[in-house]
Symmetry: C2
Subunit: 239 residues, 2 copies
Amino acid sequence: MVQAKKSFDSFFKSAFTVDNVIFGFDDGKLKVLLIRRNEDPYADFWALPGYFVQQHEDLDDAAQRVLRETTGLENVYLEQLRSFGAPGRHEFGRVITVAYYSLVKVADFELHAASIAEEVAWHNVEDISVLAFDHEDIVQVALNRLKRRIRTRPVGFELLPPAFTLTDLQHLYEAVWEVDLEKRNFRKKFLSMNLLRDLGRSQTGVAHRPAKLYSFDEKRYRELEEEGFNFEMKEGKRK
Amino acid sequence: MVQAKKSFDSFFKSAFTVDNVIFGFDDGKLKVLLIRRNEDPYADFWALPGYFVQQHEDLDDAAQRVLRETTGLENVYLEQLRSFGAPGRHEFGRVITVAYYSLVKVADFELHAASIAEEVAWHNVEDISVLAFDHEDIVQVALNRLKRRIRTRPVGFELLPPAFTLTDLQHLYEAVWEVDLEKRNFRKKFLSMNLLRDLGRSQTGVAHRPAKLYSFDEKRYRELEEEGFNFEMKEGKRK
DNA sequence: ACAAAAGTGTTCGTACTACACCCATGC
DNA sequence: GCATGGGTGTAGTACGAACACTTTTGT
């Protein structure tokens, strides 16, 4: 057996990393959290938060760790995308990366931003251009996944604060799908899923009729997460 | 720079493999191609075809290679699922595996079966129990992916012979989804997509009215592959 | 003529679309 | 009182669900 093992030694010369596409939603726009690298390769480039996986660390745990180290957040939505492993993608040797994406509430993040050493910043998805490694590809895959996910699972709430208006929710869908939706139909359909809980409160201090605040019903959320749903909607007319 | 690299050496001690869930459809049942391992670890266990990725080999290429070596097939449908990397999943060291699944036509495979050394066999999906490593988990993930994919993309054809009947196609959906579907609605909906081409031929030698044979329209296939579709259908009454 | 699967048409209900107006608040 | 976004009701339509009978072949 030890002999059998010996013959495989040449394969045990690779490393792997996790990289995390952290999505946030703020100011009506979909954002991705990027760090500016302070070491080679790709020093000074913007990149996805990520790092080498420890020898005895589970992949999901490594992704959680990176998230904690970058944002101070724990227990957020995290899902593996897939791996990227083109030879030559990393100049130190063969490194494949396991890509994840997560959904966080931007407000929670602000509280812990101070704990970070490197430069960290939210970037509008539409403004992202050149990134380190193959990270642009990863962002693209993450974005496609998110577009499908919010149609299929009630994950949108992970991006919204604990109390939000129907218009906030609609703006989120519009930002992710890059479309405009028809207000009445959006509300009707979303409310008919019984997923929203009317908090009985309203906005204050706005220069117009204040909107009702909602949270989502956790029990119903889990039901729908199980069975999945199909939230489709035709694009409305451009405003 | 060389010094910077040095400090990362401890990470370059891992290996990775590709494993492939090869789906086939025969005799009205969904099948997975398994090999019986002839070396440790897990000697004599049934397992997914897979092997270590070479140092300068792309992940997709490695998956293609495994497919070629196991089945003799090339140019088949292949898609990455995700990676599995629990520490301790492989007794030789840290090995993460990048899982793929592919869709093949069982008839094509039979022709090349002789080229394989180990025992290779199709197993009904429902009969798969204990497999090597974490391969049961991988099969489960592949199965869930396939269930969603045939609702979303016209990939079902990859599993069918070049000429098939509508009933064949219906049986495929029924096998993958594990439901019974209503004949008339299935036909109406599928035909309305303009995806099928009537070959003008029929079955011969069957003891009942012969069914028309269809192939799929490649141009329309690619269109729908781009834009995606949503083929949903309520379960019909049990027969 | 009988068995066995192929094939087809219609009604009903529901859910999505499209559309225009009144309401509550801040300034 | 006016500007700003919040909030609602309805008619038309299109598509999915449910359902039963006729057709073509082999034996």
